[in-house]
Symmetry: C2
Subunit: 98 residues, 2 copies
């Protein structure tokens, strides 16, 4: 498996809109076991989102990335992102809900 933990900052006041765009049910993620979008608890950082992902493999994730770049289906979401924090890349070994 292949995992990513990413801290995103939306343009001021646009976090909720960005969250909904990332969760657009029209965006399919084949090979994705888990994809969670979260706000900072208590809105300590009011424009931040945390995205945690588990994919079947890096290849599945990379194929999806290439696909969305080509289709432009996430263009509206990408336009709402002010900064991408450093992504942590992981190798999930197991757990609940996978």
């Amino acid at each position: 498996m292949y995992g990513l933990i990413t801290h995103l900052t939306a343009h001021p006041g646009r976090r909720d809109e960005l969250g909904l765009c990332l969760l657009d049910p029209n965006v399919k993620r084949p090979g994705c076991h888990s994809y969670v979008v979260a706000h900072d608890l208590d809105d300590a950082d009011a424009d931040a989102l945390w995205v945690t992902e588990v994919w079947m493999s890096k290849a599945a994730h990379d194929a999806w990335s290439a696909d969305i770049r080509e289709s432009g289906v996430m263009r509206s979401a990408l336009a709402l992102i002010a900064t991408w924090g450093d992504t942590v890349f992981t190798r999930p070994i197991g757990g609940v809900g996978l």
Copy 2:
């Protein structure tokens, strides 16, 4: 929902053992929607684990924490942890696999 993203460091060389302890199927997590244990990809940090969690509520998580403290069921896991990095507390809004 209530989420946690935690960076743990095991005592040197004990990471794999710690990962297995955290995934012990005898440890039940009522109200836990997602619990993922991951290594650093490419073992850049060879003793590190990332634990990402989504619970039904903070109350469900806190009840579980109190329960494991009382039962001692995770004592062996806790003994393998050298340091706890800062935990990020989140409010998950949705996603795949919840």
